[in-house]
């Protein structure tokens, strides 16, 4: 077949995961920031700012997982056992924070419990996702179509650092989202947090980026060999550009610019990982083509994806449009 279906699907899955990271990133971030806001009113507004959209955001995670099963079943079948503990931890975190959106309004005595569930669940899910990312970057051994490593391989200093980096990065997304969606003192405090987490995020990105090339010779070659070394100049420069726009947006009290710039940071970090990975699906064991399902499966789902993904993007954009602007503290359906 002339069309390289596995490559197309790798791009679609990569897009789904990126969509998940930036979308659920900001609503997980709002949960991570919960402990910094003690007023009930502030917390109500924070939660209502993401309540209409969090469910759609999380659906991208299901597409990432379900899509991986559909089009890269071998990657799905080797990565998930390798990352068993972080995946289970992430699921438990998502359970607690997901139900908190509804439960928190149904009780007064138990409200503190669901505040904890929301904040703790968000942190746990974010940290577990970072652990999983770090474990994936440092490599997953595969033999005979099965995971061939130990049960604690995912737990290394590197994966802990990536875990913390993701928590900090999501907190930045959450803070800039709150700058965009809220008013008054709440927005002021979010602005301050955005400033600090912006610097922390870029520092964490720097540490992870400098560490990564030394994990695998392939990564080192990719970043510092010619001609790919262009990336190792351009990507960090773009990161600094985004940081500048982010800080300037915060200082000039723009509502939207900090959020967009923070998204830019995430997209660049993601592209950086993509540069390291390509053409691996499960580094250093399986390439995109090793892990792919047969063309019959790829073609069948591609027809639907080409029609449906634009539709999904359109009505998701519509849903965001319906809830545009600052959150009205009086609103909410509860």
């Amino acid at each position: 077949m002339a069309i390289d279906l596995p490559l197309i699907w790798a791009a679609i899955i990569a897009f789904a995961v990126l969509a998940y990271v930036v979308l659920d990133g900001f609503d997980l971030g709002v949960g991570i920031l919960f402990p910094f806001f003690r007023e009930k009113h502030d917390r109500d507004v924070m939660m209502n700012s993401v309540a209409p959209v969090w469910d759609g955001n999380e659906t991208w995670l299901v597409l990432g997982g379900g899509g991986l099963l559909a089009v890269f079943p071998l990657a799905y079948a080797t990565v998930l056992p390798a990352l068993y503990a972080p995946i289970v931890a992430m699921l438990i975190g998502l359970i607690f924070r997901g139900v908190a959106f509804e439960y928190r309004w149904r009780t007064q005595r138990g409200e503190f419990l669901w505040n904890w569930a929301f904040a703790g669940g968000s942190m746990l899910a974010a940290f577990a996702q970072g652990l999983a990312l770090g474990a994936l970057v440092q490599g997953i051994p595969v033999e005979n179509r099965a995971y061939a490593g130990g049960w604690w391989d995912w737990l290394t200093p590197f994966s802990i650092v990536t875990g913390l980096a993701i928590v900090i990065g999501y907190a930045l997304l959450g803070a800039t989202w709150l700058v965009m969606k809220t008013r008054g003192e709440l927005a002021e405090r979010a602005r301050g947090i955005a400033l600090r987490t912006a610097l922390a995020t870029v520092a964490a990105m720097g540490i992870v980026s400098l560490w990564t090339p030394f994990l695998e010779p392939v990564y080192l070659e990719r970043w510092f060999g010619w001609p790919t070394a262009i990336f190792s100049v351009v990507v960090p420069l773009l990161v600094l550009g985004c940081l500048y726009l982010l800080l300037k947006g915060i200082r000039d009290r723009h509502d939207v610019q900090p959020f967009v710039a923070a998204l830019g940071l995430f997209v660049l970090g993601y592209i950086g990982i993509g540069i390291s990975f390509f053409p691996f699906m499960v580094p250093p064991s399986l390439t995109i083509w090793d892990a792919a399902a047969p063309d019959e499966s790829l073609a069948f789902l591609l027809v639907g994806a080409l029609v449906l993904v634009p539709m999904i993007l359109a009505y998701t954009a519509y849903a965001y449009w319906v809830f545009r602007g600052k959150v009205d503290p009086e609103e909410g359906y509860h």
Binding site: L69, Y76, L80, E102, I312
Partner: protein, 493 residues
């Protein structure tokens, strides 16, 4: 158990407890633990779709009736059930995410092999259903004042449609695993799709889909009916309680008999494609060359291959399954023993499901009789029975799924891939630890959710939102009801 049995002798007696724990883990190998974990998480999960499929359609009907008849009672009921839907839907989403990752963590060999066939179907579920539900759920819950009634109704309809599309895909997947078709197997042992039409419209799919959607509608009808009956008994908000009780009882009276017919057709289909499952359901250890009896009750005894203390009706099983009294019926003795499903579980869960089905029919007929006599709103006995039957749908759905899933054993893909060969290369302690974690978390989280739903149902249906354009509202047809929405809110407080 002796320490020596475990292999690693302990130097200190203090180490005994951890040795004991690992001994327990060895008794439960990874496959058993993974099966328990799957059964536990999927049983919890199925409760919520069963409820939200029916409730989403009910919400769409309520909003359509409100737009059409301009009667505030429907909007009040819509707002009342919308909140309950939101809580149930939230629980369904989070327990569903667990399911979508469990295939990979615990059943990775199955995922690698079956992924090329079932993966795209599940991918379509996400693309066509999950996004639709999730995208419009926010508008449905929060957006009435922002988009106006018509677009809002569209959002509600999309959420309802999403739940139905979701059921379609997931039942296509499940049915394919029960009655696989349209595939070949490659040298890596993977199932390769050959004919997608045959994969999706596999032999048992239409029966399963109809049976499940009807089950979801009945489940919801009995919850709504119980809630209405409870408020009728307490004489709170009589008009709203009457409306929901009446709607639910229509549903029970009409759908319960259709469901019994659909279930019978599904049973015949199962006999054709999964005979061992039907043998287990019926408790037929032995073949019956000249007409099989229907065993109403008894204790299946797999060691002795017979049903102890059986209460039988001669020839009836042949009549039901083959439509002839003397038709021969094969038993489990025609199948190698290592391919038998666990008989007792299937036998009992099937009886629970059927008994509840007939009880539902009974309540539906009773309500029709009361309706004809004009005592639907006043018969306390009927209302008590309806409250008692409120959770019946959930029990029936669970029993039905247990029948079909346990009856499929020892296979994950019927006739092609054994459950024992589907498991991840994973250590028992990892599966055991995550199982314990899921059990604790699920009971905490879903226990709280059930409590909140029950409390929401016990409250009065809420007032119409005052900022909405009220327009000329009909007074209720049969009884003199409230003239405006706001009075409707006060009425019954």
């Amino acid at each position: 158990m002796q320490i020596a049995d475990i292999g690693r002798p302990s130097r200190l007696s203090l180490r005994l407890p951890s040795e004991r724990i690992s001994a327990v883990f060895e008794a439960f190998d990874a496959t058993v633990l993974a099966r328990i974990q799957f059964a536990f998480t999927v049983s919890f999960h199925i409760i919520f779709p069963a409820f939200s499929i029916g409730l989403a359609s009910y919400l769409a009907v309520l909003e359509a009736l409100w737009l059409w008849k301009k009667d505030a009672v429907y909007l009040e009921l819509f707002n009342f059930w919308k909140t309950i839907f939101a809580v149930a839907f939230g629980m369904g989403v989070v327990s569903g995410i667990v399911m979508s990752y469990q295939f990979g963590t615990n059943w990775s060999v199955f995922s690698d092999k079956a992924g090329p066939v079932i993966g795209p179907l599940m991918g379509y579920e996400v693309l066509t259903a999950f996004f639709l539900e999730a995208g419009f759920l926010g508008v449905m819950l929060f957006g009435l004042n922002r988009v106006g009634p018509r677009l809002h109704f569209f959002a509600t309809a999309m959420v309802a449609l999403g739940t139905l599309i979701s059921a379609t895909w997931i039942l296509a997947v499940n049915s394919w695993m029960q009655t696989p078709a349209g595939f070949s197997v490659n040298e890596a042992g993977q199932f390769i799709p050959e004919d997608w039409w045959a994969v999706i419209f596999n032999p048992s799919f239409p029966y399963r889909l109809v049976h499940m959607v009807l089950a979801a509608y009945l489940t919801t009808a009995f919850v709504v009916g119980a809630c209405g009956a409870w408020h009728l008994l307490r004489k709170t908000a009589p008009r709203r309680a009457r409306t929901m009780f009446s709607m639910a009882m229509w549903m029970a009276a009409i759908v319960a008999p259709i469901q019994i017919f659909a279930g019978d057709q599904h049973g015949l289909n199962t006999l054709e494609h999964q005979p061992a499952k039907v043998m287990a359901m019926e408790g037929h250890y032995q073949s019956h060359p000249d007409g099989a009896p229907l065993i109403l009750f008894g204790l299946p005894n797999s060691a002795e291959k017979r049903v102890d203390y059986a209460l039988e009706i001669p020839k009836l099983s042949s009549l039901i399954l083959k439509h002839a009294l003397d038709a021969p019926l094969a038993g489990l003795d025609t199948i190698p023993e290592e391919r038998h499903p666990p008989v007792a579980i299937v036998f009992w869960s099937f009886r629970v499901m059927v008994a509840i089905g007939f009880a539902m029919l009974g309540l539906g007929l009773w309500s029709l009789w009361c309706r004809l006599r004009g005592t639907l709103d006043t018969s306390a006995a009927l209302h008590r029975a309806a409250v008692f039957m409120g959770p019946a749908g959930f029990v029936a759905v669970l029993a039905g799924w247990i029948t079909t899933e346990v009856g499929r054993q020892p296979y994950t893909i019927y006739g092609h891939l054994l459950t024992a060969d589907s498991i991840s290369p994973i250590a028992a302690p990892a599966v055991g630890a995550s199982l314990v974690a899921f059990i604790i978390v699920y009971f905490l989280v879903f226990g709280a959710g059930t409590f909140y739903i029950l409390r929401l149902m016990a409250r009065l249906p809420r007032d119409t939102m005052p900022e909405l354009d009220e327009g000329p509202l009909r007074t209720a047809g049969v009884t003199p009801g409230p003239a405006t929405a706001n009075q409707g809110g006060r009425h019954g407080h």
